[in-house]
Symmetry: C2
Subunit: 187 residues, 2 copies
């Protein structure tokens, strides 16, 4: 097992998700995950702090992506359009609907994981608000725009992950952004 | 101690909050809370399932209040205005800023309590979306309006609880609602 393994990380994630879905998150051990991926426990712990982090390592990436997109939006762009740019940038991370659907089922089945997911989303909202303030957006506009953006993200994700017509994540971002404008302003 | 105690519940809450703030949530025991309130542990457990629930029993009341206000909004009212009515109705629950401030500090200091608070807010958003759907609002408008309403609630609460000018909760609801309209639509 000392040979270098291509994409050990991806194989561990895939193996973990299958085991969590089939036998439950609590019941699955790191040893089982490693065995299914054809790797050692030691390799597992080189990539992940624990079995929970296998499910959440994408959250940090998502946050970086959001913050960078908000930062990099052109100077003249409104706050909500900077957040919209971040949402479209995030669409690149949501390509594998089966994977996302399975991850969501695993999380939904476990209160501790659901709480963890909510904590990550709250941290995402705070990071986006922070990025907006660095663009010169004042309060409460920065926090409201960030929270509204996360609302769009949550709703778009939920609709994409349960969609059976193969429409991509960006489609649902566009749909939810349009609805957000309508619901907040209709007379 | 068999004598009926007026507002035993309120005294237990007050005692608990003081102890959590002074000594930390983890360090405080139910026995200490009861002693400080001049009551027995048995009385404590007649009112609360555990020491965590002392902090969250208002969340259920808040949810009932929100759902009722959305239900009772006149038929012609737009979804966001039905949610606005719920936010103003909730203002009645936020009168004691010192109490809310102390509760927030206790929760912020403890990751488990923060997760619990986020779970309650997510349940609130789901209940409001449900109430909107029962009014005939379709998806994704119902979920987006509910999430946007909770965003307004979070931002308004944060601003009210840190405000030093004595302005009431309703003032910050109005301010945040106005900003929500602006940030989602400005050109």
């Amino acid at each position: 097992m000392s040979r270098w393994q291509p994409d050990a990380r991806g194989r561990l994630q895939q193996a973990a998700l299958e085991l969590y879905a089939d036998h439950g998150f609590e019941q699955t051990t790191v040893s089982e995950i490693a065995a299914r991926a054809g790797l050692t426990e030691r390799t597992f712990f080189r990539h992940f702090a624990d079995k929970r982090e296998v499910l959440f390592d994408g959250s940090d990436l998502l946050q970086e992506l959001f913050v960078e997109a908000v930062q990099d939006a052109p100077a003249g762009v409104t706050p909500i359009d900077a957040v919209a740019a971040a949402l479209y940038a995030a669409a690149a991370m949501f390509q594998r609907r089966d994977h996302s659907r399975r991850r969501r089922s695993v999380i939904d089945a476990n209160p501790g994981l659901r709480e963890r997911e909510l904590t990550k989303l709250a941290a995402l909202a705070a990071a986006v608000a922070d990025a907006l303030r660095r663009r010169g957006v004042s309060e409460p506009a920065a926090s409201l725009t960030a929270e509204a953006g996360i609302a769009v993200f949550k709703v778009a994700f939920e609709r994409w992950v349960t969609d059976d017509d193969g429409r991509d994540f960006a489609h649902f971002v566009e749909e939810s952004l349009a609805h957000l404008r309508t619901v907040t302003t209709e007379p």
